[in-house]
């Protein structure tokens, strides 16, 4: 254990663990064992309370950093759109620098700084080369932007206007209209119900003071996860985490989000929109991250509609009937119960038929569960494709951020393939019957409803 002056490391009392992922490549015939690929994940907590995850990947002279705050749209309160506008305003001015200077200073050193907000997470990312004269200015600027936004009024009005325009654009695509209504139908009064963009009146009502208050509450060390991947030593990674987190107060972690109650009755919402296709979404709230039903539902969803070109829905809707270009199901566990969603788009008059195929395919799957062949195929794909999940620095940093944010076990990636392999057909059927309750499915259709006759 190396001690540094500025950081107190909380040592988690587990020795370095080396686990072998035989399963990951079990589908290979000519597997030999004389060399290894490994990603070592290190985890520590800074004195500001931030969780840090680091993987040293030395092959390319670059680093990817993600700082994730529990400051997504679920934290908007009744000010829908606040989390997003706060996040996008961070690069629009600090006490010392205006937006032009911030943009120039990142780009002068070839760094890419980006901002992103979902329902759970607010993310700040930096990609930089690791030469000192490029990385150090980028990090200093990252810290300043993250910790000291000034929310200058003129830039505020402009960014507010851009967010309002994005809301308008959300309303001109049937797909995004359907998505917005889908979350409303599933989540009712829950903080997940509204769109990350917010609504026109709530965004119009926001002020720079609202953003400053949101920032000082949520952009704090104890509400942050830092993921670092790249050509750095552990010592350098610690210094980066300290530079970034040292600029923030420790603060408090965000309070737990309320439980999802969800709609207990099935419902159908049809929205008339002038389009050639009707978008159909079907779903309900399911499970949170870390739920014991996750792996059976994950594998089951893969069989049903999660696989890109091989799935029951793809076969029934596209291959057999030619009803849609894109048809899928997804399972998205969140901090609280995230959605299960089936979706497609089809010529307006075919929407009832396509919806029936979605519902029938799900009903049959829930009733009968997967065949042994389907299960074996899915496992083989999910286990065999596991290395692709770690196939780039970008992919690794995303995985680390997820593990940190959702407080998944540190050996999550190590045990992942075993957890997939352990799922049985009965597990899937039981989990689907428990969680994907047909009587609670919400159906959204957006398109030329009149054409359905």
């Amino acid at each position: 254990m190396r001690k540094t002056i500025v950081t107190i490391i909380i040592v988690v009392a587990i020795a370095a663990v080396l686990l072998f992922l035989k399963a990951a490549l079990q589908s290979n015939n000519d597997n030999k064992t004389d060399a290894l690929f490994e990603v070592a994940i290190e985890h520590w907590v800074t004195k500001k309370g931030a969780q840090v995850y680091f993987a040293q990947v030395p092959e390319l002279p670059m680093v990817d950093i993600q700082v994730v705050f529990d400051a997504g749209a679920a934290r908007d309160g009744n000010q829908n759109g606040l989390a997003l506008l706060t996040n996008s305003m961070l690069s629009e001015g600090t006490a010392k620098l205006n937006a032009d200077q911030i943009a120039e200073q990142f780009e002068n050193v070839g760094a890419v700084f980006s901002q992103q907000v979902g329902r759970d997470m607010a993310i700040l990312s930096l990609r930089s080369l690791t030469t000192r004269r490029q990385l150090e200015p980028a990090l200093t600027l990252f810290a300043e932007v993250m910790s000291g936004p000034a929310f200058p009024p003129r830039a505020f009005s402009r960014e507010q206007g851009r967010q309002l325009a994005a809301i308008a654009r959300e309303q001109e695509r049937p797909g995004s209209i359907a998505n917005k209504h889908f979350y409303q139908a599933l989540y009712g009064e829950h903080p997940y119900a509204h769109s990350v963009l917010g609504d026109t009146p709530t965004v119009e009502a926001l002020t720079p003071d609202d953003l400053a208050a949101f920032h000082s509450q949520y952009y704090v060390g104890s509400n942050a996860v830092v993921a670092v991947v790249g050509d750095l030593t552990e010592r350098q990674a610690k210094k980066i985490a300290d530079t970034l987190m040292g600029s923030l107060p420790a603060g408090k972690p965000a309070a737990p989000l309320p439980d999802v109650i969800g709609n207990v009755e099935e419902s159908l919402l049809q929205i008339q929109y002038p389009a050639t296709q009707t978008h159909v979404l079907v779903g309900l709230p399911t499970i949170a991250q870390g739920d014991p039903d996750y792996f059976p539902l994950y594998v089951g969803n893969h069989i049903l509609g999660g696989g890109a070109l091989v799935s029951k829905l793809f076969n029934e809707v596209r291959e057999q009937r030619g009803l849609a270009y894109s048809v899928y199901s997804s399972l998205s566990p969140m901090q609280q119960a995230g959605p299960f969603m089936m979706g497609l788009q089809t010529r307006a008059d075919q929407a009832p038929e396509a919806l029936a195929v979605l519902q029938d395919t799900l009903a049959q799957f829930t009733l009968e569960g997967p065949t042994e062949d389907e299960l074996a195929m899915a496992k083989s794909n999910l286990i065999g494709s596991f290395p692709l999940r770690l196939g780039s620095n970008q992919a690794i940093v995303n995985q680390l951020a997820l593990i940190g944010f959702f407080d998944l076990p540190l050996d999550y990636l190590v045990t992942f393939t075993d957890n997939i392999d352990a799922v049985s057909a009965d597990d899937i059927q039981a989990a689907f019957n428990k969680v994907i309750v047909p009587e609670r499915l919400q159906v959204i259709q957006v398109g030329d409803i009149a054409a359905q006759g």
Binding site: F37, E107, G110, S128, Q270, N315, G384
Partner: protein, 454 residues
Amino acid sequence: MQKHHIRFYKGRAALAGLLCVMLSLPAWADVHSYTLDNGLQLFVKTDHRVPIATTQVWYKVGSSYEYGGITGISHILEHMMFKGTSRYPEGEFSRLIAMKGGQENAFTGRDYTGYFQDVAAQQVALSFELEADRMQHLILNEAAFEKERQVVIEERRLRTDDNPQAATYEQFSATAFLSGPYHHLPIGWMNDLEHMTKADLERWYKKWYAPNNAIIIVVGDVDPKKMHRLAKKYFGDIPAGDLGMLKPQEEIDILGERRITVRKPAQLPYLLMGYPVPVINTAADDAEPYALSVLAAVLGGGASSRLQKEVVRDQGIVTQVSASYDPFMRLGTQFMLSATPAQGHSVEEVEQALMAEIARVQAKPISKSELERVITQMTAEQIYAQDSISYQAYLIGSLESVGLPWQLMDDYLIYIKQVTPQQVQAVAKKYLTAPRLTVAELEPLAINEEHADA
């Protein structure tokens, strides 16, 4: 400290030493290229970070090879390539790849059609076997085609007909390119999709799907010599095809400004402006495509670019703006600007603001610091690009499929570094002139959204 190692067994030893050597070499110096006797080209780039590989097969055919009446045929054929052969009937290709842990798909562009599988490195042989099989033995079945036609029509509705900005871009292209084959987009015109026949597809497949019109790219944890052996084994015996001549179809000169309006249900207006410009393949002056690339970057590349700074931030009259130019096309292209006016600002006002920025870059050379920033960004991007094996393969394919050497990935930056502010000014003055302009404006039609609970 808690530490978890995720380990993978790998097929080869002595990796650490190899990686050190790689790092001391220039960015792309390790592409191995081979040509088989039947004309098939193979490019292999090693990347040993993770025991995976991407296999891509690119055919030199895309929407710019199509002519009136059969637009969209390259893309429909791409869909049909998943419909099976006598050896691997419908669904078998995808099932085998999925079973081996692979992820796959395909894409059709103006100048190419590509297929890819991302797989564990040991599965490249399977990819080769399946790709070689469907290069020769595709079954075009009438019933499967009828269903797939509907799928593609749905894809067109999704991507173009119900997307006001995409529909505007399609109409822009048909206006800016009058006689040349970039007139239509890869998705094709709806009427052509509706009247495509199986015989059309058979002809297209026979004409273009031959080893001498194909490029195989493998990037990942593989051995180039072994890949060459595998390529010979699976593709080596396929006879070369008679590709015939591709007519030049050069775009006619633009004789004055062209201006169109697209009226569709939408919330926001949208503006597209373009000027015909040469690309590396067509430029009489070799330096011009690089100067145009710098010009696009100075105007629209990143948050510090002129359009972001002036038009988005200082004037606040647009919510979105871009400048784009692709020097790696087969034929001459358009240097494009796009913008979405902010509320309370008209399309005319935005067009004038973009024109003012063009006038500024024509009147005065860009600054040294702007040029340096562009070069710094492009240099960094060349490193970042290597993080993704798929993207590395894509870069090789997008060059080689239009007849440009893969070495241009390295050399591109060398040429960019030779660009002077005066050259950037010169191309702006030469090409971005009023009589050469095409403008498309999206004029939103009101949307009456109705809710009906049922």
